[in-house]
Symmetry: C2
C-alpha cells in the first residue's frame, strides 16, 4: 500500500489561470504525470489549454483519457473502465497521477466517475480531491449578482428539464442558476418575462474564460444563437419565504 501512487483530482477553476488555487498550482508544478479528459482520440483538452495559458511547463508524462460525449450509460461505463485501468497501472507502480479538471472536481466533472471506477478495481488506492472555483461562482462574481444572500436558497439546474420545473422551483428558491440554456432559451425567457424576472436576471457565456460574454438586458438574446457553455442567473426577488427555524430562536422542533 505504501508503494502505491495517489490519484489527485485537481480543480483548475473556470479558465482564467489566476482563478486556480495555490494548492493546485503547487501540485502541478511538482508533478511528473498529468492525465486529462478528451472527448475523442486526438481532440483538444480545455484543461490542458488553461495550464498552457498559465505558462506551466508540461510534465514528463501526459496521459489523455477518452470520455466521450454520450448519454449511453453502458458505453460510458466502458470508457470509464478503460480510463481507470490506464491510471491504475501507474498508481500501482508508485506514480502519483494528477487528473486535470475544469472548474471544480465535484461539480459536473468526469473525475468522480474515474475515481469511483478506480477504487472499485482496487479500494486501497488513495484519492485526494483539490476543490476549485466553479463556473457559476465566477459567473456571479463577474455579473456582480449574489448567488445567495443571507438565508437564501440556491438551485443549480440544467435548464433542459424544462420551464414547468423552473416555474415550480420559483416557489422555493431565491436564486436559480440555469446551465446549458441554449436549446430552451426562448421558452425560459418567456417564463422570466411572465414572472417579471427579466430585469433581475443576467446571462453569461463561457464564464471565467478569456472569451466571456455578459448580457444584462436579456431581451437582446431573443432570436439569437448562444454558446452551449452559457448560463442564466435568475434572482427571484418576488419569493415569499416561509418561517425559518434558527438555532437562537426556537429549539429543534421542525
Amino acid at each position: 500500500m505504501s508503494s502505491y501512487g495517489k490519484l489527485y483530482g485537481v480543480s483548475l477553476g473556470p479558465g482564467d489561470p489566476e482563478l486556480m488555487t495555490r494548492k493546485a498550482w503547487k501540485l502541478l508544478n511538482g508533478s511528473t504525470h498529468w492525465a486529462y479528459p478528451i472527448k475523442r482520440k486526438g481532440s483538444d483538452s480545455y484543461a490542458l489549454d488553461i495550464l498552457h495559458r498559465a505558462g506551466l511547463k508540461l510534465p514528463e508524462r501526459l496521459t489523455p483519457l477518452v470520455f466521450p460525449m454520450t448519454h449511453d450509460h453502458e458505453k460510458l461505463a466502458a470508457y470509464w473502465l478503460r480510463a481507470a485501468q490506464t491510471v491504475l497501472e501507474f498508481i500501482h507502480r508508485g506514480e502519483d497521477v494528477l487528473f486535470l479538471v475544469e472548474g471544480d472536481a465535484s461539480t459536473y466533472s468526469t473525475f468522480g466517475h474515474l475515481a469511483r471506477t478506480l477504487t472499485s478495481l482496487d479500494d486501497r488506492i488513495p484519492v485526494e480531491i483539490v476543490a476549485g472555483v466553479s463556473s457559476f461562482n465566477a459567473a456571479a462574481a463577474d455579473l456582480q449578482l449574489p448567488l445567495a444572500d443571507t438565508d437564501d436558497t440556491l438551485a443549480i439546474i440544467p435548464a433542459g428539464y424544462g420551464v414547468k420545473m423552473l416555474d415550480r422551483l420559483l416557489v422555493d428558491f431565491d436564486t436559480l442558476v440555469l446551465l446549458k440554456v441554449k436549446p430552451v432559451l426562448e421558452s425560459v425567457l418567456d417564463l422570466l418575462e411572465q414572472k417579471g424576472l427579466l430585469a433581475s436576471s443576467a446571462f453569461i457565456e463561457k464564464a471565467g474564460t478569456p472569451d466571456e460574454r455578459v448580457v444584462h438586458n436579456l431581451t437582446e438574446l431573443r432570436g439569437t444563437q448562444v454558446n452551449y457553455l452559457s448560463l442564466l442567473l435568475v434572482r427571484n426577488h418576488h419569493r415569499v419565504r416561509g418561517e425559518m427555524i434558527r438555532g437562537c430562536r426556537k429549539k429543534s422542533v421542525a
Copy 2:
C-alpha cells in the same frame, strides 16, 4: 473618476490558505489596505485569521467593519451604510480597498450588501469581485461525494426552512446541501432515515478549515451537539428524472 480607488471583494476560500486563488494571493500581497467584517467592535475576524495562517504580512491599513449578527433588516441597513461610508472615504481619496471574504464573495457573504450600499452612494465607484472556493465545494471534495454528476440538479439551502420543504425538494433534486443543520438535525435525520437516504449522505463540520470533522455514518450524530458551521450533503439516488431537452436531440420546444 480616474482618481477613484477600487473596491475588491476578495474571496479567501473556506479556511485552508492553500485553497485561496492565485489572483487573491497576488492582490493581497500587493495591497496597502484590507477591510474585513467583524460581528462587533473588538471581535475576532476569521478572514484575517486565514491570512495570518497563510503567513501574509499585514498591510499598512486595516479597517474592521461591523456587520452584526441580527435579522433586523433596518438595523443591518444602518450598519451597511456606516461600513460603506467608511470605505467610501478611502476610495474617494484614490485608495484601493480589499474587502476580505471567507469562502466565495457571491455566496452568503456580506460583500454584496457592502458593494450595493457603496454604489448606491456613488455609482461611479469601480467594484471587482474575485471568485473563490465555497465551503460546499470544499465539503464535497473532502467527503469525496459529487455535488453534481452529469445532468444532476443541486440545491443549496439553509436547513432551517424545515423538513417539509426538504421532503418536497427530493422530487426535483439529486443533491441537497443543507447548511446550518444544527437546530433541525434530529428531524432531518428522521427524514433521511424514512427516505432511505442515510447511507448516501454525509456530514461535515467546518469544511476546509484546520478543525474540519467528517461523519459518514450519520446515526453517530443522534443525540449529539454539532457546530453551527456544519452541513449535510444528501445524495438522493432514488430520484426518478423527467425527460430532458438537449441541444443535440430536440430543437427548442420546451
